[in-house]
């Protein structure tokens, strides 16, 4: 259909003009990736700016890992270009400025933490000092432990340390806090915020929506290889179903649905849940019509609800 072609073109133009080339630290431009018959990414446009934390969300199979691997230069696009620091992500000079924390099933278990860090540090001409990496990755006290003897959260911290060895300007974190306890997770979040404050760029994929909500300047939601939503956490949450009103009322569901501004009504045994972007207006109407209304709660939607709304309809 010509209309959609026109829309797509203007989208690309708007996107390209919104991100000035010199500000973009990494870009995927019109990237398509095909694995045999499967389309993993469909003409994706993504740009990462300096000093921002971008959270890449999406259900399994949405294309998040593929996008990350393209930016890391581990795979090449079927169509389109991937650029990191203005160059090819596969060149060694680009890799010197990039750190990656990927999901790994097993890393060599018969080496100590210090030895792993020592080896990775040797790849960089100006690595952080061992003491600094240990501090950043919260590995104090376990430097001499064999990797096999570490807990799940400690293993994740070592992987983070490996990514940080070279003091990278661009960091990719794939499910970084899986298996971590609260303290370690908060510690890692603090490190991510520090990176952004220093002008570094972080691309984070996570299934913990709370994490995306807490850390990201910008959220990009992928589904089936396309971006279905993009914006700050607040924008994503408000753009979807709106706010949630929960109460006990004798008003019928049909009546509630007919109220202006109501997007959905859900009736459970005692309570009714009404979603609307104009919570105050709807509540005012409900209170006028039903004096016996009780147990009133108004809440902002969780990022989870927004996320589900965005991805299940596609």
């Amino acid at each position: 259909m010509p209309a959609t072609a026109l829309i797509r073109e203007t989208e690309i133009e708007r996107y390209a003009s919104a991100i000035e080339p010199q500000q973009a630290v990494a870009t995927l431009t019109g990237v398509t990736k095909r694995y045999g018959d499967t389309l993993a990414l469909d003409e994706l446009n993504l740009a990462l700016r300096a000093g921002e934390v971008v959270a890449l969300l999406g259900p399994n199979g949405a294309g998040k890992s593929t996008a990350v691997r393209l930016l890391l230069g581990l795979i090449a696009p079927t169509a389109g270009t991937a650029r990191v620091f203005g160059g090819d992500p596969q060149t060694p000079s680009t890799r010197l400025r990039v750190g990656a924390m990927l999901q790994v099933a097993r890393i060599p278990e018969t080496l100590r933490v210090r030895e792993h860090l020592d080896l990775f540090r040797s790849y960089y001409p100006n690595p952080l000092s061992m003491a600094e990496v240990v501090r950043i990755a919260q590995l104090d006290g376990i430097e001499d432990k064999m990797f096999s003897k570490l807990s799940g959260g400690q293993k994740q911290r070592v992987l983070f340390g490996l990514a940080m060895c070279g003091d990278p300007d661009l960091v990719f974190l794939d499910e970084p806090t899986v298996g971590m306890d609260i303290e370690a997770r908060r510690g890692l979040w603090q490190q991510i915020r520090t990176l952004a404050n220093r002008g570094k760029t972080v691309l984070l994929t996570t299934h913990y929506l709370e994490e995306a909500d807490a850390l990201a300047h910008r959220i990009v939601v992928l589904s089936k290889g396309k971006i279905v939503s993009e914006g700050t956490p607040a924008e994503i949450k408000s753009a979807s179903a709106g706010r949630k009103i929960r109460c006990r009322t004798r008003l019928s569901a049909e009546l509630l649905r007919a109220l202006p501004g109501v997007t959905s009504v859900e009736q459970s045994s005692d309570d009714v849940v009404v979603m609307t972007p104009r919570a105050e207006d709807v509540v005012r109407e409900m209170l006028l019509r039903d004096e016996t209304l009780s147990n009133l709660e108004i809440s902002s939607p969780a990022l989870e609800d927004a996320f589900l709304a965005l991805t299940t309809s596609h």
Binding site: Y35, G36, A50, G51, R69, L72, G73, L74, I75, A76, P92, S93, R95, L96, R97, V98, A100, L102, Q103, V104, A105, R106, I107, P108, E109, T110, L111, E115, D118, L119, F120, S122, Y123, Y124, P125, N126, M146, L159, L162, G166, D169, F172, A196, N197, R198, G199, K200
Partner: protein
Amino acid sequence: MSTPTITYHAPQSFSFARTAKIFIKETKYEFLKLLRNRSFSLAVIGFPIMFYLLFGVSNRGVHSSGIHMARYLLAGYACFGLIGAALFGIGVGLAGERAAGWLEVKRASPMPPPAYLFAKCMGAIVFGLIILTALTVLAVTIGGVSVTGFELVKMFGLSVVGSISFASMGFLLALLVPANAAPGIVNLIYLPMSFMSGLWMPIQYLPHSLQRIAPALPTYHLAQLMLGVFGYANQSSAASHWFGLAGFTMVMLGTSWLIFNRAQQNA
């Protein structure tokens, strides 16, 4: 709010010293990793020693058709050991690292891929030399075998060559074989191939039908070269064995290269 600043590192020119350091560290940690992995190191060094004690040392007095069995088996089990070190250390080890996603982390880092390959190869070489040394010590002390210094140097050299050759096979196996099947498949290839190449007993004692297969096996050619150090080789010239081994190595490396590149395109 402070202004975010980005420090751009000055472009780094290639530094030989730094690259050499990476190669050395990568090799050192590869070796440590293998050595500390008891299920690998004890088996790969222990089996040839055990076989040599059982069949070599016990036959220290046996000289059949001009062949001193304990001496023959020193060469045979040295080959057996170095081949095992290469196939298990690399074939199984690399397959596991690839399947676990660790290889991707290394590839995403600035590590030069040749450093990784070099380290894997050196790991196989060092273990091969350790096995050869252990067997030689046993042979000379309790096996009643005499080995001249020159013979020892030749054996060491052949061990290095053989390790490189079978390291290339290890690479191909790691690319082809799924990680959890790797140990089983390596055993299925390694054990019959060793047996049919005369590593465990001279070829003459095998059925004629099996003897004819031997020249097709790379392990046979390596064994013949190693046995040639003691003058126990069959009549065919050493050059034919060198060609056989070199051809095998080329085929392994070439096929690995093809498969790796095709995986890159499809990945």
